[in-house]
């Protein structure tokens, strides 16, 4: 039997079947994730239709430059992730590790900027709940906006944190030589997950940061 480092699990016929199953499984999971975020996108849509001015006004309280920078950071991280998968496909562990590290760093930068923004909102009393202060008669609907802001970006940040953790395990595994040009499925799948998180942000950015700018 041609035993390599990449032996397939006993219940599969071969490595190809195992790879197909994992690939499909990840896509099914991502379809599920779309619906998870979808519930919040629906709520956002309903309230933005009901309170367009309050949403525009509240949106202008976000820092559009930090938002844009963060979008760019996340796109860079998707790029490095794609290159990491490519290195893994070609069976080159060293560049793979490098690109995975870069992806983690970019992810960390994103989270750092995000938490700076959260902190600023905390100082400005824009966190919903008892301490919410909004010096405008639009306060009520603005509080709804910030509820969505924190719920959506919070869930997104949580996904980022999980992603960073997964990437760290990939680095360890790559360094230990677990992957080869024949078997790199985990790198590929976590790459899919990372790109998905990027896509969520691609929609959050205009919906949260940009919708009211032309009034400002």
């Amino acid at each position: 039997m041609p035993e390599t480092a990449a032996a397939h699990a006993h219940h599969f016929d071969d490595l190809e079947q195992q790879h197909q199953a994992s690939w499909l499984g990840m896509w099914v999971f991502l379809a599920s994730e779309i619906m998870f975020f979808g519930g919040m996108f629906l709520g956002y849509t309903i309230y933005r239709t009901a309170y367009p001015q309050a949403f525009a006004d509240a949106s202008n309280h976000l820092d559009v430059w930090l938002g844009t920078v963060n979008t760019a950071v996340l796109i860079c991280s998707s790029f490095t992730m794609a290159l990491a998968v490519r290195a893994a496909q070609l069976g080159r562990p060293k560049p793979a590790i490098l690109f995975l590290l870069l992806t983690i760093v970019l992810g960390a930068v994103f989270l750092a900027i995000k938490f700076t923004e959260y902190y600023a909102k905390f100082i400005e009393h824009l966190v919903p709940g008892g301490a919410f202060v909004y010096d405008d008669a639009l306060a009520a609907a603005a509080e709804i906006f910030f509820s969505f802001y924190f719920a959506m970006t919070g869930m997104h940040a949580l996904h980022m944190l999980i992603g960073v953790g997964l990437l760290a395990t990939l680095i360890v595994k790559t360094a230990r030589g677990r992957f080869s040009a024949d078997y790199y499925t985990p790198v590929e799948l976590i790459g899919l997950y990372w790109h998905f998180v990027d896509i969520v942000w691609i929609f959050l950015f205009p919906l949260l940061y940009l919708m009211g700018r032309h009034f400002g």
Binding site: A9, H10, H11, F12, Q17, Q20, A21, L24, G25, V28, F29, A31, S32, E33, M35, F36, F37, G38, G39, M40, L42, G43, I46, Y47, A50, Y51, P128, G129, G130, A140, A141, E143, I144, S147, F148, F150, A151, M155
Partner: protein, 548 residues
């Protein structure tokens, strides 16, 4: 009497012993047992709540429990029965055990994920049980805002976190089934040769993965609102009280099909086996499962006809709801036609199957009352609704679950259950069920609202009838618990194929070996080839291993 041969043969039950061999198993058959034990536990916990509810309703006054206790009882009854019993029951027990075997695979695609699903389910269950033990929750299983998000003083957050966690167990199970069915079918097992049980589970899995995440995010938003003061559903801020209902029913209506579709899959297996006939209209039955799953996502607004939803949206939802009736009717007609010119035997599983068709017909037709706009206004949120969904979820889904459990019991354990007692239990359950829930249709039409622990005296006679039925039903449910456990020790050895059934799961020994098949079978014919004496399956050179 006990033949030692079966004991000597290695199978999935005797390959390892000890608690850890169960808690760390990745064998789908053993995981099915983990689920079987846990859902049985939750079924009897939920049943206990139901017993107390029915006892309280014997009299119009609230003389057994206080109002707040009663409200917690029906909430906990709904939460346990729906999220911890009905949703996992058939898929996670029978589906887990059978899907790999039915398609000729050695396991599910992701065995460790499968085990993780069970642990996640248990973790969610612990959260919810903790909430129950700490004083319970009183929002109703529907958790309508703003009552759940602002006004209730009970343990809402812990409960919804429990449901949130359990939701991931559903998603992962669905994911596992979909991938397994797509990638792990044995040679020759084309889509149109698959048993309808597998089709039904495929449709169910689609609902798992596309619906469950919506309830997960919705309930976590309610938890965030309670814990951190987020204001997403808060009407004080201008929050729309109907938003929660839309999100909730987007999942919770399809969830009804999560409960009933796998049951329909079971019934297709039982009807064919005990009438020795191919299923009438295989393609129609298969596609009706997918149609029910897909249409099921388009009809949630019929829970909101009196909620203040737009009249026009209600009309769209009513029209779409009517359409779900069609694939359901198609199934019933095809099952009935399968009986025609068959060779019908009345073993206990068949009694459950025939009972299922009757109760599902009644439950489905009364569903039309609720989809019809003008009538729903009157019967909405009354006992008519309670009766209707118990006909579907208990009358149909639980009957199918019990029928399936009896049918595959010999495969799971290698033992037979006592046939006559089982037939008696099936009849008791059928009669008890109808006595419990039929009076509730009348109560609802007369106007008795649901979730009332005190009620006007004119409703008492029907409530007493219902409680009397419930006590019969309770006996019917305890009986199988006793004799099935007993059969583990005293049951007769079953043999490979005690029912002379078709389907790959019957072509491997009972209980099956760890990898299900000693040699991967090659399928050469459609499902349910009951007209031939022996099933036709090709095995590659080397042949199949001798069975017990």
């Amino acid at each position: 009497m006990t033949e030692p041969i079966a004991e000597r043969r290695r199978h999935y039950l005797n390959v390892h012993y000890g608690l850890t061999s169960w808690l760390f198993t990745t064998d789908h058959k053993r995981i099915a047992w983990l689920y079987l034990v846990s859902v049985t536990f939750f079924f009897f916990v939920g049943g206990l709540f139901a017993t107390l509810i029915r006892l309280e309703l014997l009299t119009p006054q609230g003389d057994l429990v206080q109002a707040e206790t009663y409200n917690k009882l029906f909430t906990m009854h709904g939460v346990t029965m729906i999220f911890f019993f009905l949703i996992p029951a058939i898929p996670a027990v029978l589906g887990n055990f059978l899907i790999p075997m039915m398609i000729g695979a050695r396991d599910l695609a992701f065995p460790r994920l499968n085990l993780a699903s069970w642990y996640i389910y248990i973790l969610g269950g612990l959260f919810t049980l903790t909430a129950a033990a700490a004083g319970g929750v009183d929002t109703g299983w529907t958790f309508y805002t703003p009552y759940s998000s602002i006004y209730s003083n009970t343990h809402v957050a812990v409960t919804v976190i429990g449901i949130f966690i359990t939701g991931f167990s559903s998603i992962l199970t669905g994911l596992n089934f979909i991938v397994t069915i797509h990638t792990m079918r044995a040679p020759g097992m084309t889509w149109f040769r698959m048993p309808l049980f597998v089709w039904a589970h495929y449709a169910t899995s689609l609902i798992f993965i596309l619906g469950t995440p919506v309830i997960a995010i919705t309930l976590s938003l309610v938890a965030l609102e309670r814990l951190f003061g987020l204001g997403i559903f808060n009407p004080e801020l201008g929050g729309d009280p109907l938003l929660f209902q839309h999100l909730f029913w987007f999942y919770s209506h399809p969830a009804v099909y999560i409960m009933i579709l796998p049951g329909m899959g079971v019934i297709s297996e039982l009807i064919t086996c005990f009438s020795r006939k191919r299923i009438f209209g295989y393609e129609f039955v298969a596609f009706s499962s997918l149609a029910i799953a897909a249409l099921g996502f388009l009809v949630w607004g019929h829970h909101m006809f009196v909620s203040g939803q737009s009249v026009y949206a209600s009309m769209i939802f009513s029209l779409l709801s009517m359409l779900v009736a069609i694939p359901s009717a198609v199934k019933v007609f095809n099952w009935t036609a399968t009986l025609y010119k068959g060779s019908i035997a009345f073993d206990a599983p068949m009694l459950y199957a025939l009972g299922f068709i009757g109760l599902f017909t009644a439950g489905g037709l009364t569903g039309l009352f609720l989809a019809t706009l003008g009538v729903d206004i009157h019967v909405h949120d009354t006992y008519f609704v309670i009766a209707h969904f118990h006909y579907i979820m208990v009358g149909s889904a639980v009957m199918a679950y019990l029928g399936g459990l009896h049918f595959w019991w010999p495969k799971m354990t290698g033992r037979k259950y006592p046939e006559n007692v089982a037939r008696l239990a099936a009849v008791i359950i059928f009669l008890g069920f109808n006595l419990t829930f039929f009076p509730q249709f009348v109560l609802g039409y007369l106007g008795m609202p649901r979730r009332y622990h005190i009620y006007p005296p004119e409703f008492q006679v029907l409530n007493v009838l219902s409680t009397a039925g419930a006590s019969i039903l309770a006996v019917g449910y305890v009986l199988p618990l006793v004799y099935l456990i007993g059969s583990l020790r005293y049951g007769a050895i079953a043999g490979m194929n005690p029912w002379n059934a078709r389907g790959l799961e019957w072509q491997t020994p009972s209980p099956p070996p760890t990898g299900n098949f000693d040699v991967t079978p090659t399928v050469v014919e459609k499902a349910y080839a009951y007209e031939s004496l022996e099933p036709e399956i090709l095995y590659p050179p080397g042949g199949r291993a001798a069975d017990a």
